[in-house]
């Protein structure tokens, strides 16, 4: 029989050893020779995951649900597969940003928001309260079992309230001694980590010792144990999945929440991330930690089965089998060792958890409030911080005790713990989405966390109070106001799940749904956006380099800044920090110089390591005049994005320019092709036109040559044709020459002042013979007095001759009438040549001015002209800034009209038309 003093002596002796280990760890850390800087210590410290829950509770749960205790350890194993990316990224982010806790991490990600930090802290403290209660229950129950076993008062084996209170107080003192001896800029506790790792070894050894004792001493090996167990119907039932409440859905839900719990329980975050020395240690821990879990769980089922076989149902709390079995086997020393193992498991959890929570309570909940209320004006803030944290540890443990007093007796260990796991799962969306999705916004995270937490509290926390009788059970069953759909265990009529699965489903649905929804449909603030980019892109070099980018846009002096940092972290550390900064940037400070932006950012980061990102931001902004987020700094971090955008802008512009150039080239090419085609056409038409008269000249010449005896009259006729054709040929060649000369611009225009009346006279005289031949009358009409224009006399005469001869050509013999009229408008001279010939089809009117365009079907009748006449006219008129076109006459015939700009002094002289 164990005396109480022995148990107490051993317990305190053990705590003393722990303290020595911690002390040694701190000493080595101060000397710069860290003992925790290796992956094995890191792995063992992560095993703080295995608490009193694992040590006592797993056996209890196995005794009622078979393998139902396992998802809690399979989840972390599965989660460890992604540690290599996710955890390493979180560690890197925390190091870059000097993160001190999970609340700090989430707040920092979402725009250094103190509201988010505060909310995460509240969720953590409320959510972890049951978990701490669990440890108090485990320690006090085990103490009572050890002390009272085989004594008369066996009935009082349950956890005494007083014992739990003492345990809470002792643990508070112990945690304060461990965790808050001094304020460190990085919030790392090497000694504590060393002690936790030591504890993990102790609890594994203790658990395995019982396992081996039960399996190999009380039974003849595992096969013997299992074969005997299989004969007990009650145990045989436990060898399948059936006893697990909620079945496979529950199994999946438990796996899921333990996957998140291993990373996002505040103490796990503290150990995995904040206390991590080297992120490369994750490599080993990823498989070694699951192996630890494997080892500590392998004897759970044998111990549970043995317990059921040795103790009659209901006489002994299954949670305590691990202790009562050695006592039953009269192995008091082993029992004491197991008790120490359990103490290790529970104290380890409590120490880390309270330190993590009190840091959060201080940095993320109280500091922002105190700062805003401007209550912190004392010189030595370090002491204030320490006092707040120590008070926080005590408060958290007392809250845990309160919860234990309220509901501790009604629940088994694991059930209490699962409530906390479901709370920790609420952090998963905010963190995991936050580090991979830039769009996750502050408002989204706030909505998600608040929604998830509210649902969790309603579906798990509230019922736990109701079942313990502290609030009316009717609130839970059937539901408030008797509404079944609002009942905590069947919200919105969702039935068929056990309470944990039910709560996890709804809280995750609300959490993720609100987070994603609000992020997608809301806007991100500047700082929020900036932090998002920094977190998601932490591996991109450019972003890391700007970790102390000039984000502050304000003025403060170096001495003010140094004063602030000194107040928070003490003069020695502040001096060292500023010295190293000066050294790194090759600067020399004078106290009255203005602090540049990067120094301000540096100071903020240093402060963040002590008081958290959100508080640090508030503090720095309190001493900066004209505080604002600098746009340049923001742009620098978002630079990458903007550079890409700018680059694509430039690319777009280039491609637009290229497109324009291409289309221009295309147009030019088209034009060139057209010109080429026109030239070819011109050459071929000209050749064709030349050949026609040549052919007839040749033919007639050959006839003349061959037929010597030809009738002279006939010969005369043929010779006339030859002469005529030669004339035509000459005319054609002249016209081609003229035309090409004008077209190519090489013709020398002789512009002078002209009287159009005399020009018309000259042209009419030149064509009089032609009209006379066809017996066609030409009438003229022109104003009295001169019509003065500026132009080339010969060319204008040529134009009118052309038009007149065309008119004569198309008019009928004897019946033809040609009228030429010269008139003046305000600023133009107008000349119209009118005939009563066949007229021109409307479709042809434009085309008659094209080169070589012949009226009529050229294949049927011999062309009347060269096809160049009108083209030349058009070119000449246009050269004189005039216009030429065709109008149709009623009832028949056509008018060719052209206008020329009048010279200024001729406008006055508008005489009466003169008929001739």
């Amino acid at each position: 029989m164990l005396q109480q003093w022995i148990i107490l002596l051993v317990s305190f002796g053990y705590l003393g050893i722990l303290f020595a280990v911690a002390y040694y760890g701190d000493k080595r850390a101060d000397a710069g020779r860290s003992i925790i800087s290796n992956p094995y210590i890191y792995t063992f410290s992560i095993a703080v995951y295995c608490t009193g829950w694992t040590f006592y509770g797993s056996v209890g749960r196995a005794a009622s649900t078979g393998v139902g205790f396992l998802p809690i350890y399979l989840g972390p194993t599965l989660a460890a597969t992604v540690w290599w990316f996710a955890l390493r990224k979180i560690i890197r982010l925390s190091k870059v940003n000097n993160i001190t806790s999970i609340a700090d991490f989430i707040a920092s990600r979402y725009g250094k928001s103190s509201v988010i930090g505060g909310l995460v802290t509240v969720i953590s403290i409320v959510g972890i309260m049951p978990y701490i209660a669990l440890q108090l229950k485990a320690i006090s129950s085990s103490f009572n079992v050890l002390f009272n076993y085989n004594r008369q008062n066996m009935g009082e084996l349950g956890a005494g309230h007083d014992t739990a209170l003492y345990v809470a107080l002792v643990l508070a003192v112990f945690s304060i001694l461990f965790g808050t001896r001094h304020i460190d800029v990085t919030e790392r506790h090497e000694g504590m980590v060393a002690a936790i790792a030591f504890e993990s070894i102790v609890k594994l050894l203790a658990f395995s010792a019982v396992g081996i004792f039960v399996t190999f001493m009380m039974f003849d090996g595992p096969r013997d144990l299992f074969s005997q167990a299989a004969l007990v119907p009650e145990i045989a039932k436990l060898m399948t999945m059936e006893p697990l409440p909620g079945g496979y859905a529950s199994w999946l839900a438990l796996t899921f929440i333990s996957m998140t719990a291993i990373m996002f329980l505040p103490r796990q975050f503290q150990i995995l991330v904040v206390e991590n020395v080297n992120e490369k240690h994750v490599r080993t821990a990823s498989w070694l930690f699951p192996l630890y879990l494997f080892a500590i769980n392998i004897f759970v089922l044998p111990i549970a089965f043995a317990g059921i076989m040795f103790f009659q149902t209901g006489t002994m709390d299954a949670d305590m089998f691990i202790l009562t079995l050695p006592l039953k086997g009269e192995q008091e020393a082993l029992a004491l060792f197991v008790f120490i193992g359990g103490l290790s498991a529970a104290t380890g959890m409590v120490i880390v958890e309270t330190i993590a929570l009190s840091t959060m309570l201080c940095n993320d909940l109280l500091m922002p409030v105190l700062l805003r209320l401007r209550l912190l004006r004392r010189d030595d803030m370090g002491r204030t911080l320490l006092a707040i944290r120590r008070g926080g540890i005590l408060l958290i443990l007392l809250l845990g005790y309160l919860y234990f007093r309220l509901i501790g007796e009604s629940y088994a260990l694991v059930t209490i713990g699962l409530v906390s796991f479901a709370a920790a799962a609420q952090f998963a969306p905010a963190i995991l989405l936050g580090i991979y999705w830039k769009g996750a916004s502050r408002r989204g995270a706030l909505a998600g966390l608040a929604g998830g937490f509210a649902v969790w509290a309603y579906t798990l926390l509230l019922p736990s109070f109701a079942i313990s009788g502290w609030i009316p059970t009717s609130l839970v069953e059937p539901g408030p106001f008797g509404i079944f759909e609002l009942g905590s265990y069947h919200l919105f009529n969702l039935t068929g799940f056990d309470p944990i699965t039910h709560s996890v489903f709804w809280s995750m649905l609300f959490n993720v749904g609100l987070m994603v929804g609000v992020s997608l449909f809301g806007r991100q603030e500047a700082l929020d956006q900036l932090q998002a980019a920094r977190f998601v892109d932490v591996y991109k070099k450019r972003v890391i380099d700007t970790s102390d980018a000039p984000l502050w846009h304000g003025k403060t002096s170096v001495s003010d800044l140094r004063g602030l940092v000194t107040r928070m972290i003490g003069p020695e550390k502040a001096d060292a920090a500023f010295r190293s900064y000066a050294l790194r940037h090759a600067l020399e400070f004078h106290d009255d110089t203005l602090a540049d932006e990067s120094l301000i950012a540096f100071a903020e980061r240093e402060l963040a390591g002590t008081v958290g990102a959100a508080s640090a931001r508030v503090m720095v902004s309190s001493i900066i005049e004209g505080e604002a987020l600098s746009i340049e700094g923001l742009m620098k971090v978002l630079d990458e994005t903007s550079q890409v955008i700018e680059y694509s802008h430039r690319l777009e512009q280039k491609s637009r320019e290229l497109e324009t150039a291409t289309s221009e080239l295309k147009r030019t090419n088209e034009r060139l092709k057209e010109l080429d085609r026109m030239k070819d056409e011109f050459v071929s038409t000209v050749s064709h036109e030349l050949r026609t008269p040549l052919t007839s000249i040749r033919a007639f010449s050959e006839i003349l040559q061959d037929d010597v005896n030809m009738d002279p009259q006939q010969r005369q006729q043929l010779l006339r044709i030859v002469v005529k054709e030669t004339e035509r040929l000459t005319r054609l060649v002249n016209q081609v020459l003229d035309f090409t000369k004008i077209e190519s611009g090489s013709y020398q225009w002789v512009h002078e002042k002209l009287d159009l009346v005399s020009v018309v006279q000259e042209a009419a005289a030149a064509t009089s013979q032609l009209s006379h031949n066809k017996n066609i009358s030409i009438t003229r009409e022109s104003p009295q007095g001169p019509v003065l224009v500026f132009g080339d006399n010969d060319r204008l005469v040529q134009v009118i001759i052309n038009l007149l001869s065309n008119a004569i050509k198309y008019c009928g013999q004897d019946t033809g009438k040609v009228h030429i009229r010269l008139s003046c408008t305000d600023d133009k001279a107008r000349i119209e040549v009118k005939d009563n010939g066949p007229g021109i089809e409307p479709g042809e009117r434009e085309r008659v001015f094209e080169r070589f365009h012949q009226l009529g079907d050229s294949s049927k009748s011999k062309p009347h002209g060269t096809g160049l006449g009108l083209a030349i006219c058009k070119t000449i008129i246009e050269n004189h800034n005039g216009r030429i076109w065709v109008e149709s006459n009623q009832p028949s015939g056509s008018s060719f009209v052209f206008t020329l700009p009048l010279l200024a002094d001729s406008r006055k002289s508008s005489g009466f038309p003169v008929q001739e």
Binding site: R88, P222, R223, M239, Y248, S286, P290, L291, F294, Y539
Partner: protein, 97 residues
Amino acid sequence: MTESKDRDVQPYDDEEQRPGPKRKGERLISLLIVGTLFLNFPLLSVFSKNYLFLGFPVLFLYLFIIWGLIIGAMAFVLRDRLPRSSNPTDTRKDKDN
């Protein structure tokens, strides 16, 4: 110019993060998926039998064997390949830089 730009925006700042020819990331994700499949319904229901195999309950045996295999696979994927100089990836790295 493009070369220096590439180097600036290189997404990984240390070679361990860079997806090497060993494709660590893909293997770990696959392990997560396979592990989740093997440790859940319906495969679990196959072994949820009240039956002793080699003296052990089948469900217990199955769960611990799968668990052990996952741990072993993880250790294999994440094994530290030393010494680095004999590693073929090393020469690649030299070339890259």
